[in-house]
């Protein structure tokens, strides 16, 4: 019966596998192939150049900066997602009237398409009529060129990403906290633990498996981000908010350097595959 089942298991696996190989793995191989050529629709060249594109990538300062920015982006977004999401979850765990409504309101940003959220915030950051600058004027502070100032552009996008994706973190953390054993919390309360001690010594350590999963999934997802930066700043002004995905997108669509942007894409892919592999090994499937 073992053998009999194994045959059928394979029949069930094969259709999906074929589609993945034809539509995902084959393009990937093709991407590697293109990355070894100087395919360029402006200069009209297409010949084999070996590893030249990769060598160029490793000395491309702009690409290097975009990777650094990408890492900063992931670290800031993920940590604030966690801090605000945890805070929201702890508050929601308390008993108060209209708690259900409060939870619904927290989830609202998740309902917007990321492209819409980016555009909405682009309006909020508008120099003349945006609500952020108007609030600053009311408070007696000057206007700020949120998306125009090269020093602020990336941070402004990061704030948008935090706003839009904290609900996701909130939902997971709330589920983790609600699954806690009530007796532990009661015992800690009787022993006189205050609110902050309760969080620090009980809730966070006990929910740490789910916290690790939430943070690692969020970090990987954020690494792939594109929509917010592209919609809000196009990586500008002057490349000041370029992250890897927008930099590659520009190399491909405006400069039409297909060979070079393919090589950059493959480098990013290699980084992601390694990163995902180790995160999964270490935090997600360890018990398997």
């Amino acid at each position: 019966m073992e053998r009999f089942q194994k045959k059928y298991n394979i029949i069930f696996i094969i259709p999906a596998l074929i589609v993945i190989i034809v539509l995902l793995i084959a393009p990937m191989v093709m991407g590697i192939e293109i990355s070894l050529t100087n395919l360029d629709y402006l200069k009209n060249t297409d010949s084999f150049v070996g590893l030249k594109n990769y060598i160029r990538a490793f000395s491309d300062k702009l690409f290097y900066f975009s990777v650094i920015r990408n890492i900063t982006y992931v670290i800031i977004v993920t940590s604030f997602n966690f801090i605000i999401g945890y805070w929201m979850a702890i508050i929601c765990y308390q008993k108060f009237r209209l708690n259900k409504l409060f939870r619904f309101i927290i989830i609202l940003p998740m309902l917007l398409i990321p492209a819409s959220a980016g555009l909405l915030w682009r309006f909020l950051y508008n120099y003349d009529i945006g609500i952020v600058n108007k609030a600053l004027t009311v408070l007696g502070l000057g206007r700020v060129g949120w998306l125009i100032d090269p020093n602020l552009a990336l941070i402004s996008v990061i704030i948008t990403d935090i706003w839009a994706w904290t609900p996701w973190m909130f939902l997971i953390l709330l589920a983790g906290i609600e699954n806690l054993d009530k007796h532990i919390l009661e015992a800690a309360n009787i022993d006189g633990a205050n609110f902050f001690q309760l969080n620090k010594y009980i809730i966070i350590p006990v929910t740490s498996p789910i916290i690790k999963i939430a943070i690692s999934l969020k970090a990987i997802e954020t690494f792939r981000t594109f929509d917010y930066v592209w919609i809000m700043t196009r990586g500008g002004p002057g490349g000041a908010s370029d992250i890897t995905s927008t930099y590659i997108f520009k190399q491909a669509t405006s400069s039409l350097q297909y060979g070079y942007s393919s090589a950059l894409g493959i480098i990013v892919m290699a980084i992601m595959v390694l990163l995902t592999f180790f995160i999964v090994r270490k935090w997600i499937m360890r018990a398997a």
Binding site: N9, I20, M30, I34, I106, A115, F226, G265, A288
Partner: protein
């Protein structure tokens, strides 16, 4: 006495937090609604003195210089539904087999699916553009679906395996002993217990396709434009039509609200399932 002041401190902290969280979440939405209702002259007011529904009318019914949202919503719904149906048909059996077949190779395959799920979409833009150009599939529904299906199959496999893993195997063993075939067991016994899982997985795949922006913007021109590029099209480099754009953004949340309402009990499970293995 000491305990009481501690309780009050805690209450103040909670209420301040609630106010802050509400402001943080709702102020952008407040701005969104106010602007989409404001007449052209009063776009910069914090509280609109004159309210108009002309932008919603323009977005819903179309106007001389605005294309109606329905065509694009229809496009989105067609592409996303077809992709989700195909993804479900392919990934559910695959996921079941991976869940029941305990071996090194099935574990490795499962791991590869997870890594494929997390691939950065940007890495594949070049080969995909070239392939679609060669097949004359730029700006078609089929072209978009051919991108979404392989991207979402790993998501489907990953989500469904969590559900299958938590289905007790005894039913199936009993069915085998009674002489049922593998296929009969799968369709008659395993699938009916996992309808929730299939529903949640379809909702997730649909949402991931619905919000996808890079490829929707990259390979559509006129016929197959979906909602994200349509909404983004109100912001051209030389002018941004904020009111129309925000009205469209608000209307485009309707399918999301319906889907989340439908799947709300399972959202968390959908995010973490398969990840928590004991």
């Amino acid at each position: 006495m000491d305990n009481e002041s501690g309780l009050n401190m805690r209450k103040i902290f909670i209420w301040l937090s609630i106010i802050f969280i509400l402001a943080w979440t709702l102020l952008p939405f407040y701005s969104l609604i106010i602007i989409s209702l404001a007449k052209t002259g009063s776009i910069s007011e914090l509280w609109p003195k004159s309210v108009t529904f002309e932008y919603y009318k323009a977005v819903i019914f179309g106007s001389p210089d605005t294309r109606s949202i329905w065509v694009y919503m229809k496009n989105s719904v067609i592409v996303c539904s077809v992709s989700s149906i195909v993804v479900i048909m392919l990934s559910v059996p695959c996921s079941y087999a991976l869940s029941r077949w305990k071996s090194k190779s099935s574990n490795a395959m499962y791991m590869s699916y997870f890594i494929l799920r997390m691939l950065p979409p940007i890495s594949l833009i070049i080969p995909r553009i070239i392939l679609l150009q060669n097949l004359h599939l730029i700006d078609t529904f089929l072209g978009l679906a051919l991108i979404y299906i392989p991207t979402q199959i790993p998501v489907g496999v990953w989500l469904m395996r969590g559900f299958f893993d938590s289905t007790p195997i005894e039913f199936e063993e009993y069915a085998y002993i009674e002489g049922a075939t593998y296929f009969k067991t799968f369709f008659r016994i395993v699938l009916p217990v996992n309808t929730n899982g299939v529903a949640v997985t379809s909702v997730f795949v649909f949402i991931y396709c619905y919000i996808e922006y890079i490829f929707a913007a990259l390979i559509t021109r006129t016929n197959a434009i979906t909602l994200p590029p349509y909404i983004a099209s109100f912001a051209s480099p030389w002018e941004i039509r904020f009111q129309l754009m925000l009205a469209a953004a608000l209307i485009s949340t309707i399918p999301m609200i319906v889907l989340y309402a439908f799947a709300q009990r399972f959202i968390v499970k959908g995010i973490t399932v398969g990840a928590v293995k004991q």
